[in-house]
Amino acid sequence: MTGIILFKTALIVYFAAACIYGVSLWGKRVFPARLAAGLLFAALAVHTLSFVARWFPAGEPTVIGLYDALSIFAWVMAAVYLLLQVKTKTRVLGAFISPVVCLLMVVASIGLGGNVSAPPMLRGFLVTVHVILSVAGEALFAVASCAGLMYLIQDGLIRGKRSGKLSRFLPSLGDLDRINHLCLLWGVPLLTLGGLAGSFWARIVWGSHWQWDPKQTWTLLAWACYAFLLHQRLAIGWRGRTAARWSLAVFVILLVLLMAAMPFFGTLHRFV
């Protein structure tokens, strides 16, 4: 019960942060963004407490529902963004991140108060690790794509010699590219480990490491794409515009595929 109240509070504060970021973007002023970052931080803190309140009674982290997965997704996005903001001065990127976080939270809230106890098959340490790591990896890719979009806008402005108010307001290309680098660098290993954890668990409960169910296939595809991007970045030097374009494109394609494949997700591996 406390968990739900905290979750809703977090949702409202995320929403407020997104609105103020919107104001900041609209007026091209940095001051509101500063305020919004504070709100985002507060929302993240409340959100964290909501996890504690939800998990504490169960005695262990329960991350088996769509609710939990999306909620963690949103949490990681917000947390990663705030961390990056400390490292690079990309205050305004929050204007792109916070609406996504909000949307995730709204969708997550549909499953609010749903089943807290998982079926026995989906309980256990490995399942928790699997979900948290995979979702965290994917959240990092989402941040990379937001940064990619902003990079392309800024790149277009500078290249087109239209370095007006908007260009001054947006973060620098160097910082946005650094975010792409960091997100790929951390996202790929996280998703890899998450996948491995899931696979080990599958071996235990289903008897085989791999099932070729739509969701596994989709995740494999996502993993392959991002591993490829990371490789290109490190080995060949896909930086700047190329990296931004690909990060954004891959994310959008994967999102579309996910939407399309959703109805076919089998009972075995779906979100409860």
Binding site: G174, D177, G237
Partner: protein, 419 residues
């Protein structure tokens, strides 16, 4: 208010006159204390920068004081009166306040929005304060000017964008790279313009500077000055993979930097961002180089365009700033007027109270016939009558202080009641 401001600035006086005054009024010049030597001057402050010399003073008698202050300035700069009269402006009271606020907010500067002027006003104030030549009015006024300047700075974009070509280049570099720490720049051609841009970039923390010039001696001289490295001119393409910003300004008739050079360098630098600045006419860098991914090419016209738009923006922001200044001038006037009214009200009340006490004392013998309670009631009635009579005049005085420039009521009340 009896506030006067006399001075000359780049708008009114040629540099030959300004510099004579400036030498005389600068750091080694007369102490603001000398202003107080003029009998009419009660408080004073001297502001002297490379673009203006101004004297601000609170005076007892406007016109005589202005004449004497003019003589003061005339003596300092060793100028003749005719010369001076052409260049000097005199602002009084509200105009003086507005002028000071506009100066502090950098609205009167040659480059509108430049940040140094506020520091210079602060310095002038510090000098005056050290010599104890400021009092209630100037202290309040100058602090109010700081406030107005701060508001203009934070609430408008007047200082927000570069209005010189070399600074526009620095701003662009920041937009591309984020921080400039540890970045390397290459100057191809060691001209005056590139030197200026390099200076700006170095101040922003650029790490290393390479200089390629056809005359190697010139490159070496400049390298020594900037603690950089001179590179033989024909070997500069080899340095492209390791530099982040290139400033080209040679006198070459054709393109010195080709797209092939740039793409080869980009491969070797693994597509790290490269910012090419071409300030040469005719151009040094083939425009096709700017089409390459992760390469940004700006030539002198592009930079000039940035500067022009920025100037345009500044002008628009200046209107907003003038509004803020007007508000602050009004706020200061309200404070000042209240200041003049308050003592009058206090004096008026004091006089009435004195009359009441005096009359009650005269009738003390007769009053003794009443009981304690009755005496208190009589005193109460008299006080109430006085308060009721005073209520409207006092309200009127207070209102007047916020509405009108002159304070005829204050003067009238003082005369009528012989305060």
């Amino acid at each position: 208010m009896r506030l006067v401001l006399l001075g000359m600035s780049h708008w009114t006086a040629p540099v030959e006159i300004r510099e004579r005054l400036q030498l005389a009024c600068g750091e080694g010049g007369p102490a603001p204390a000398e202003l107080l030597g003029i009998p009419e001057v009660r408080e004073g402050l001297i502001l002297s920068t490379c673009n203006r010399v101004e004297v601000l003073a609170r005076v007892a008698d406007g016109e005589t004081a202005v004449e004497r202050l003019k003589t003061f300035i005339y003596r300092q700069g060793n100028l003749d009166a005719a010369e001076l009269a052409r260049c000097l402006y005199v602002h009084r009271d509200r105009d003086a306040v507005r002028h000071l606020f506009r100066v502090a907010a950098s609205l009167d500067s040659l480059v509108m929005g430049e940040p140094q002027i506020l520091g210079q006003v602060k310095e002038a104030y510090r000098r005056a304060a050290d010599h104890r030549t400021t009092g209630v009015l100037l202290n309040r006024l100058v602090h109010h000017a700081f406030r107005a300047a701060k508001r203009v700075r934070t609430e408008t974009g007047i200082a927000g964008n570069a209005v010189s070509v070399s600074y526009a280049a620095v701003e662009l570099a920041k937009k591309i790279f984020g921080g400039l720490h540890g970045k390397t720049i290459l100057l191809i051609g060691a001209g005056e313009m590139s030197e200026l841009a390099a200076r700006h970039l170095l101040r922003q923390g650029v790490g290393r500077i390479l200089i390629a010039n056809r005359t190697i001696a010139r490159a070496e001289a400049m390298a020594a000055e900037f603690q950089g490295t001179a590179v033989p001119f024909d070997r500069f393409p080899e340095t492209l993979p390791e530099v982040d910003i290139v400033i080209a300004s040679t006198g070459a008739p054709g393109y010195v930097v080709t797209p092939e050079m740039v793409s080869a360098a980009l491969r070797r630098r693994r597509n790290r961002l490269l910012f090419l600045i071409d300030i040469a006419v005719p151009r040094d860098i083939d425009p096709a180089a700017g089409e390459i991914d992760n390469v940004f090419l700006y030539n002198i016209d592009h930079l000039q365009e940035v500067v022009d738009t920025n100037r345009e923006t500044r002008r628009a922001e200046a209107e907003k700033a003038e509004g803020i200044v007007a508000e602050e001038v009004a706020a200061f006037e309200a404070w000042f007027n209240a200041l003049a009214v308050v003592p009058t009200i206090v004096a008026l009340r004091g006089k009435m109270e004195g009359i009441v006490r005096g009359e009650l004392e005269k009738s003390a013998h007769w009053l003794a016939g009443f009981s304690e309670e009755e005496r208190a009631r009589i005193e109460g009635i008299v006080d109430a009558v006085v308060n009721k009579i005073l209520h409207d005049p006092i309200t009127g005085l207070k209102e007047e202080s916020l509405e009108k420039d002159e304070l005829p009521y204050v003067a009238a009340v003082r005369r009528l009641f012989r305060l």
